[in-house]
């Protein structure tokens, strides 16, 4: 039950972007298309899961006072790996994501989970936590990307959805569209939470 809980909490109840309000920068900046969002989601999830596993493994040997620098070193190792792998195998995506790939290292989700979860829990639950949080992040960023791409360009994952008569609202793939989309998503979430509370 508790293992299942570790996994599920990241997806909705403690969703990093919509509820905890962390990891906003990549969630908005690279979510102008669904594909970019998915790419960023996978890259960040990979770093999150790997760093959670390593930190949970070494946590007994890490002195309390210098844990943050050690976490950062571990995280930046995996970020560098992601950086180079993406550059080699998917240069187009790498070019789209740009500076946000190395910036995964300061993504508060990853350091936050290292500090709040992986440092205190077993390897197995940390892996599941990383998986759940990563999935929650990837899900939100892909959804935001899909909404923006659909309205701003009339496509999802580069497939045309609306016919040729559709007039795309360019504003949605520009920066203001990102703010508006996430604002509406959070407003919906609040609305449903209030409904549940009233019952």
């Amino acid at each position: 039950m508790s293992l299942k809980n570790d996994f599920l909490s990241g997806i909705i109840r403690e969703n990093p972007v919509l509820v905890l309000m962390i990891g906003l920068c990549p969630a908005l900046a690279v979510s102008n298309t669904a594909l970019n969002g998915l790419g960023m989601g996978i890259a960040a999830s990979f770093v999150l899961i790997c760093s959670n596993i390593v930190i949970a493994t070494v946590r007994k040997y890490v002195p309390d006072q210098i844990r943050i620098p050690i976490f950062i070193i571990i995280i930046s190792t995996f970020v560098t790996i992601t950086d180079y792998v993406m550059q080699a195998y998917n240069p187009a995506l790498y070019k789209q994501l740009g500076v946000f790939v190395p910036l995964i290292v300061v993504n508060c989700i990853i350091l936050g989970r290292a500090e709040a979860f992986a440092y205190k829990n077993s390897v197995l639950s940390s892996t599941l936590d990383g998986l759940g949080m990563g999935l929650g992040f990837a899900l939100v960023i892909t959804v935001i990307g899909a909404i923006r791409e659909l309205i701003g360009n009339g496509t999802i994952f580069n497939k045309i959805v609306f016919g040729p008569d559709f007039q795309p609202a360019l504003i949605m793939i520009l920066p203001p569209g990102g703010f508006i989309t996430i604002g509406i998503l959070i407003a919906f979430l609040h609305y449903f939470q209030n409904k549940v509370k009233e019952k």
Partner: protein
């Protein structure tokens, strides 16, 4: 206007590619501390201060250490550690020698370590292949842009806090809508001075 002239770099960083509203970097602190005017000003000043130091140091590290010794793959790790150490050092220095300044922005300094803008600027200086002087001007433009945006945003948020907002929209959603409108306004700077 030439986009590589110092003034061009400054204006582009300050307004046209405003780091918060157009490039979406450092949003966590943007939404986190912009409730009040006073804290926003403190945060803005701290960001200018730290960012200038951090980009000077990281520029030197990259060009005098990583490039000559072929260690470019250590870029991410070395930059983030330098910045974290630098912030600690600055905090201790200010606490001891400039207590007034420390009181004004002390509590924001640790927050800045995880402020992605500082690291982002260090990377962007390298990516754009700026000279030292250019990167300093660029960094000043970026950090001034951050301060400008966060102070404007705090001013609006203080007013919005008093306005009747639908229940589901209270708090973050309305802040995002505000940011969206500001971002729209900043898009209008595109093409300023032909940049």
């Amino acid at each position: 206007m030439d986009s590589t002239s110092l003034f061009g770099i400054f204006i582009a960083a300050l307004l046209i590619n405003n780091i918060l509203l157009i490039r979406f970097i450092a949003l966590c602190s943007f939404f986190g501390v912009s409730n009040q005017m006073e804290t926003s000003i403190g945060m803005g000043m701290a960001v200018i201060f730290v960012m200038m130091m951090a980009s000077a140091v990281s520029w030197c590290i990259y060009h005098y250490l990583l490039l000559p010794f072929d260690l470019v793959y250590l870029r991410t790790a070395s930059f983030i550690l330098t910045i974290a150490a630098l912030v600690q050092l600055e905090e201790m220095y200010l606490k001891k020698y400039v207590p007034t300044l420390y009181r004004a922005m002390g509590i924001y300094l640790p927050l800045i370590t995880t402020n992605c803008a500082v690291l982002a600027v260090a990377f962007l200086n390298i990516d754009y292949k700026y000279s030292f002087l250019q990167s300093m001007v660029y960094t000043f433009g970026v950090s001034a842009g951050y301060t400008l945006a966060i102070i404007l945003f705090a001013g609006i948020r203080e007013r919005v806090a008093l306005a009747p907002v639908p229940k589901a929209m209270q708090g973050y959603p309305i802040a995002f809508f505000t940011a969206s409108l500001m971002s729209l306004a900043f898009l209008g700077f595109k093409g300023l001075f032909g940049l």
